[in-house]
């Protein structure tokens, strides 16, 4: 697979997708009608997309008997469910574990992937295309194939039931982010680096003090994507964590579902409230980093 060297126009793709086709002032009644129908349809879909979350939050404020009453505004809103979740489960501990894992995972994968991407983008050496082909190929490998041996590695290192396996693998870069960041590095004008070399900058200086600051938008995208991936991951916590004090939030939510759902009598109010607690940090992240999400995703697909 050959990857074309991309020009500066690639960097322009990081700009968030904005409306390029501004309405041209005068419009015919026909096109206004079309526009009106389109907006109405979009509004209908928006309600469909938002409703589950509004419903979830509202349900978490209702007592157990009323969780399913499908009334959007609770009759007597109460925070009692939050108190009882806090008493039933070590929520604060789980949140702390999750924050620790996600921050380490995101920082580790960003720095290591940037290093590797830089190595592929700037240096020319024999076998480069072959190696990069391996990077791309490893993207296609399903996780199930490596799952068991990777578990055995962490097992033999005595890291089962610790948080290490959830993030330490990220220290070695990840194919998808290497690919993404390499595209950005290739978009930087090479003259800058050649000039730095002439001025006596070492390889590390060039990377750390020139390349890294210049591709900050791409690094932010990587950080956010990995943060989301690590926060929402369930499978690895299921594999690696045993003791409930080590759980991350999604693993904890699953445990609560097992205990207060499948385990016997359904305590929906606890499960609903824990779901809200699991989801809210992601929603906050989304609103803080909304533009980066959009630009990052728009860029990933453009290569086809």
């Amino acid at each position: 697979m050959t990857t074309p060297r991309l020009g500066l126009d690639q960097a322009a793709a990081t700009v968030p997708v904005e409306d390029t086709r501004v309405p041209d002032g005068r419009r015919s009644w026909g096109s206004r009608l079309v526009r009106g129908v389109v907006v109405l349809l979009l509004l209908a879909f928006s309600v469909l997309f938002m409703y589950p979350f509004v419903w979830l939050v509202s349900a978490s404020l209702k007592p157990r008997e009323q969780v399913f009453d499908n009334r959007l505004v609770p009759e007597n809103p109460t925070l009692a469910n939050y108190v009882s979740v806090w008493q039933e489960a070590p929520m604060l501990l789980w949140i702390g574990n999750t924050v620790l894992v996600t921050v380490l995972a995101a920082v580790a994968v960003t720095i290591s992937s940037a290093m590797v991407a830089w190595g592929f983008a700037y240096y020319r050496f024999r076998g480069r295309n072959l190696l990069f082909g391996l990077v791309l190929a490893s993207m296609m490998l399903p996780g199930a194939v490596t799952m068991i041996p990777v578990f055995l590695i962490w097992n033999s290192l005595g890291q089962i039931d610790t948080l290490t396996p959830l993030w330490a693998g990220n220290l070695f870069g990840s194919a998808f982010y290497i690919f993404l960041l390499r595209q950005f590095f290739l978009g930087l004008p090479r003259e800058i680096f050649e000039a730095a070399r002439v001025d006596g900058a070492g390889h590390w200086t060039m990377f750390w003090r020139l390349a890294i600051p210049l591709c900050r938008p791409a690094l932010v995208v990587t950080l956010i994507f990995e943060f989301q991936a690590a926060w929402t991951d369930l499978m690895r916590p299921l594999i690696y964590l045993r003791d409930s004090t080590n759980y991350t939030i999604p693993r904890g939510l699953k445990a609560l579902l097992d205990r207060y759902g499948f385990g016997g009598e359904w305590h929906w109010e606890i499960i609903v409230t824990a779901s809200v607690i699991t989801t809210v940090p992601m929603i906050i992240l989304f609103f803080l980093a909304q533009r980066h999400f959009v630009s990052g995703i728009a860029t990933t697909g453009s290569k086809g």
Binding site: V198, A201, T300
Partner: protein, 336 residues
């Protein structure tokens, strides 16, 4: 300095000599070595190695070795506690006879075959709408992406709540139209449709990719088509779809691979500690089957064989998609 890349018709930056001297005259903020040393960096293995080392180590330890080791494990009996014992092709023989594996593969293929087309068509539909929405599209884009932020575990919980057969919201809404909704979460026939419908909420990412592609279609093409008398559908089919076929294909491939490996939502909603009381064959996807064989029943050797089969299936399906797409995907600049 840029140079015109004739083949692709785009400007590509080069490292010409004139601007090099220009930039080199500026002072850089870091303490430089006393004497500038111009160097050509062809064949720069050593410094490159410094940067590539993390990946080389990671690839060897976490990808290359595991791939060979699962291949080996698939020929053994292994329960983590005792050393693996070689059993030849027994695991594969068992795989062929294992009704559970067959059911799981069937579930997965059924889900993928239904979910991917629906998912892609729905994202394309929303992207086309957004493309017509003008200034309002920014707001809607945000709204449509929001469900992507829900952790899949929470989506699993939501599935159980909204699609609850007795008092779930979905059936209540269906009731308004006089439809008696099915027991989505308990009736084996309706479990996968429920999962598919729930998954449609997370089309946001694909919508953004397709919308970005739509925005890149040159307006002139539409104008020309209009002059030629092409109506809306004709323009969509003959201009829009070919012009975004690259990203469209990307969305299809990525979602197919993801669908073949789906795990979390179905596992959350239908499997748990009390599996014996709440196991649901209809929701047991192949990835769930592998996970349970490996980590619940500790049959690592057999699970490795299962994993290899998944790998082969994914490769075959992706290869078919690539071959088929060669006829439909149009890359700009290819035929210029």
């Amino acid at each position: 300095m840029t140079v015109q890349d004739g083949r692709r018709g785009v400007a590509v930056p080069t490292h010409g000599t004139a601007p090099l001297q220009e930039v080199a005259r500026r002072r850089w903020p870091w303490p430089g070595r006393s004497r500038p040393r111009p160097r050509v960096n062809r064949g720069d293995w050593k410094p490159a190695l410094l940067f590539l080392l993390p990946w080389i180590v990671g690839f060897a330890v976490f990808t290359a070795w595991p791939v060979f080791y699962t291949a080996y494990l698939s020929l053994t009996d292994y329960d983590v506690i005792n050393a693996p014992t070689f059993v030849g092709l027994d695991n594969y023989e068992r795989l062929v006879q294992d009704a559970g594996a067959r059911r799981a593969m069937g579930n997965t293929l059924f889900y993928t075959a239904l979910q991917v087309p629906l998912y892609v068509l729905f994202s394309l539909f929303l992207a086309l709408l957004l493309n017509q929405a003008g200034r309002a599209s920014g707001f809607f884009r945000t709204v449509f992406f929001l469900p992507n932020m829900t952790p899949p575990v929470a989506t699993g919980v939501l599935l159980l709540l909204l699609f609850n057969g007795q008092d779930g919201l979905v059936n209540e809404v269906l009731g308004w139209f006089g439809i008696n909704g099915p027991a989505w979460t308990t009736d084996p026939q309706w479990v996968k449709p429920g999962l598919i419908l729930m998954s449609l909420l997370s089309v946001g990412g694909s919508v953004i990719i397709l919308l970005a592609a739509l925005r890149n279609v040159p307006q002139e093409l539409y104008d020309a088509a209009m002059v030629d008398g092409a109506g809306f559908w004709r323009r969509t089919w003959s201009v829009t779809v070919p012009m975004i076929s690259g990203p469209l294909f990307f969305v299809i491939i990525v979602n197919t691979i993801a669908a073949l490996q789906s795990f979390t939502e179905a596992y959350t909603a239908f499997f748990g500690v009390g599996t014996s009381t709440y196991s649901n064959d209809a929701a047991e996807f192949y990835a769930i089957h592998i996970f349970r064989e490996a980590f619940e029943f500790l049959r690592m050797g057999y699970a490795s064989a299962l994993a290899w089969l998944l790998f082969v299936v994914i490769m075959i399906i992706t290869a078919i998609q690539v071959v088929v797409s060669k006829r439909f995907v149009f890359y700009e600049g290819e035929n210029r």
